[in-house]
Amino acid sequence: MTAMERLRKNVKRDWMLLLIILPGVIYFAVFCYGPMYGILMAFKDYNISKGVWGSPWVGLKHFKELVNSVYFGRLVKNTFLLSIEQLFWSFPIPIAFALLINEIKRKRFQRLAQTAAYLPHFVSVVVVVGILKDLLASDGGVLTQLFSAFGVAPKNYFNLPSAFRTLYVSSGVWQEFGWNSIIYVAAISGIDQQMYESAALDGAGRWQRLIHITLPSIAPTIILLLILNMGNMLNIGYEKVILMYNAATYSTADIFSTYVYRKGLLNAQYSFASAVGLANSVINVIILLTANFMAKKTTDTSIF
């Protein structure tokens, strides 16, 4: 059988699957691969009327400008620390939640708990930050009052550089843990029930079943998502940070994306913004490849 014939046969057999994947392929081609030539802007002084191709080359000028900025060191530090802290908390909590949900035997309560947990995902981030500010208002905020019952003097946590990351990450975890657990719940529901039954016959308790059956069964999912998450590590959007930071907390809150927003977008410095974006992507790819390599070495699971 020639390659052509085999291809034709495969297409004929799997045409429905191919059809299903088609929108995804088009999406990536149009929105991810198509605009890639725009990367050139990072090495040029982009001039609108001359277009991407016609604009003059300036080499690494914009990268130098970024590195020479007085804030470069702070931006690197803040972006990394925020990303790491975010991943540290927001990754394991949904897994733990999915395991807990799975242990609930009453189906109605299980569904209720799950729905309640993922509802905050649909709340706009503006509202979430608003709620947070209200809860922590130095006069009369619910949490402030709670803390003062334990003897903590009321203060405005939004003005404390040391509190910024905690606020950012904890509100993010609250908003997303339910939603992010959906995928693990789905993975758990696919585990063969016979394994649990035979383990129970052998005298395994609930805890042992969790450790020896559930966790190993969803381990590939966990590792896949961990790798994917790490590849997105530095892509922290500016929206939430801009809503949360103020001049008193820049020292821990100012990250690459907010800096680009202020300098690139508000001042129409397209080339500079592309340069920062490109640098960000390169670091992301390096992290992704490293994580993938490590996963392959240690667990045999990897995305490629």
């Binding site: 006069d139 789905a186 993975a187 001049a247």
Partner: protein
């Protein structure tokens, strides 16, 4: 496992699309409602088709009605839920009189991003555009140097008699519209007239002063005593002596620089010129330290709101907690009253006099900015003559001004035999819009495009209120603001590369000095750092621009 992974993803996707499904119809309903309301209002407008006007050399209609269609892209109305797309009465009337149909490509949120993308890609350019970015004027240089904005000089000369007259009346406007190469690529939204009337400073709860038997503060010491009294006593009389916030800012702590009038500056503007015409930036001068010391003392004693970016201000005003609001124009005093009255019917905000260093102080407040955003014609416009004539009508002609400021005769106002204008019930007694200002905006008056706001009309809207009193007191007693001129290519390059970092630093240090995370002993090293980040260079650029301004306005 693979299969289950896909299942999970599908479930996710479905949940998302379900949410979208529930949200969309609601949004559609809203727009529908607005359209109907607008159509009703439109039907009530008088029929003026066919009249030929002659306005200072501009003949109307500009073209055979309906033969010319232009697109405009920029901000939508400042009235929530109302869009120019709905065919508002004022815009319909303008179309009737000029014969030019306008396609409104307007957005109420995120318009800047949409515009930037559209302008950067050169795809689907509108004929007329509000030039982004809005916060600075560098866009005029960016988009004119690469040919997106076309020069308007000849067009104005040949087709726009009213704009020429407007320039003669306000040389400052012409100066601010003129790029460094001497051409005009964009017209600035003109606030010079309205801001002769409307002061922007501090307002205070007169009823709190009365409750505590205090006088209106005039000097720094008096201000301090009032703040202290607000803090320590039960100024709002609700039985809780600790819920008062003596001083709060509208948009962030840094706006407290308004109090500089009490510390050796003769006005409240960071950019200012001295008697010799030299340009200064207040925040790096020695007197500034005195103000910071004062603010630091106030903050440490809890006299200044710790809501540093002002997000909770509206809520706090509503809860009857805020004694003084810093940095807000006089007309907002009325809306703050409305807010606070929901919890305290006695609420009475009054505009404050300028805070002086001592009884003999002569500092004056600075008027608000002379301009607001820039508007231009793009290279995609096939009929720039019609466009400039349309702009001439809406932006500069007397007739266009009436529509801008008072709306449509018969619908929003009546004129008696002496020419005296009275607003109709639609404006003064509107069920949806309690403020006359919003009611006028809801029919398309006081627009967001080619702005040219009239102080007289503003006073008419607030006739007989304390806003009018505050405006009358301020009229003629305010200093001209520092002119924001368009930069040369070289100036813009330096400015855009240095100012973002520098202004971040200045904001950060101001906050740190006031809230006490940075010792005021470090003020000198702060000035040094600012200079090393380009402060002196920025001051030099501003100086050059000011010299150009002087030159153009002197002609």
């Amino acid at each position: 496992m693979q299969k289950k992974l896909v299942t999970g993803l599908l479930a996710t996707a479905m949940a998302v699309s379900m949410m979208a499904g529930t949200v969309l119809p609601a949004a559609a309903e809203e727009t529908e409602g607005a359209t109907e309301a607008a159509a009703e209002a439109g039907a009530a407008a008088g029929e003026v088709t066919g009249t030929v006007y002659d306005l200072g050399g501009l003949t109307l209609p500009i073209c055979e009605p309906g033969s010319v269609s232009l697109t405009y892209m920029g901000n939508d109305t400042w009235c929530a839920g109302v869009s120019y797309n709905d065919g508002l009465p004022v815009q319909q009337e303008i179309e009737k009189r000029t014969g030019v149909h306008i396609e409104w490509d307007t957005y109420s949120s995120d318009v800047e991003t949409v515009l930037q993308t559209r302008m950067a890609s050169l795809e689907g350019l509108p004929d007329m555009v509000e030039v982004p970015p809005f916060d600075s004027n560098v866009g005029v240089d960016t988009y004119s140097s690469n040919g997106v904005l076309i020069p308007l000089n000849d067009l104005i000369e040949q087709h726009a008699p009213n704009i020429k007259k407007l320039f003669e009346k306000y040389p400052a406007l012409e100066a601010m519209c003129t790029s460094a190469d001497g051409n005009i690529y964009a017209l600035a939204g003109w606030w010079g007239d309205i801001n002769d009337y409307v002061p922007d400073y501090l307002y205070i709860r007169q009823d709190w002063l009365d409750n505590l038997g205090l006088e209106m503060p005039n000097t720094v010491d008096e201000l301090y005593n009032v703040l202290k009294a607000f803090k320590e006593q039960d100024a709002n009389g609700n039985g809780d002596a600790n819920d008062e916030i003596p001083l709060a800012t509208k948009n962030g702590l840094k706006q407290l620089y308004y109090l500089m009038t009490g510390f050796g500056y003769d006005t409240n503007s960071l950019w200012y010129t001295d008697a010799d015409g030299a340009v200064h930036y207040a925040a790096v001068e020695p007197q500034y330290k005195d103000m910071l010391t004062f603010l630091n003392k106030c903050y440490s004693e809890g006299l200044i709101s710790d809501d540093l970016d002002g997000t909770l201000l509206t809520q706090n005003i509503t809860e009857d907690k805020v004694g003084i609001v810093c940095h807000d124009p006089a007309d907002n005093m009325a809306s703050s009253d409305d807010l606070a009255m929901t919890s305290n019917p006695n609420c009475n905000y009054q505009f404050m006099p300028v805070i002086q260093a001592d009884e003999n102080g002569t500092a004056q407040m600075t008027k608000r900015a002379l301009t607001w955003h820039y508007y231009g014609i793009t290279s995609a416009c096939e009929n720039p003559e019609a466009a400039i004539q349309w702009i001439d009508y809406v932006y500069a002609s007397e007739d266009g001004m009436m529509l801008y400021n008072y709306g449509v005769e018969g619908l929003s106002y009546e004129r008696d035999e002496n020419g005296e204008i009275t607003f109709t019930d639609l404006i003064t007694n509107n069920e949806t819009y309690t403020s006359a200002f919003s009611a006028l905006r809801s029919i398309g008056a006081w627009p967001t495009y080619f702005i040219d706001d009239s102080g007289e009309a503003f006073m008419k809207i607030f006739e007989g209120t304390k806003v009018e009193t505050a405006c009358q007191a301020a009229y003629g007693n305010m200093k001209d603001p520092f002119p924001e001129m368009l930069g040369t290519a070289e100036e813009s390059e330096i400015y855009t590369s240095m100012w973002p970092d520098l202004s971040t630093y200045l904001d950060e240090m101001f906050t740190a000095f006031v809230i006490g995370t940075e010792s005021l002993d470090n003020f000198d090293s702060y000035v040094e750092t600012a200079n090393s980040m380009g402060m002196e260079e920025i001051i030099r650029i501003k100086g050059d621009q000011y010299a150009r301004y002087q030159e153009i306005t002197a002609e």
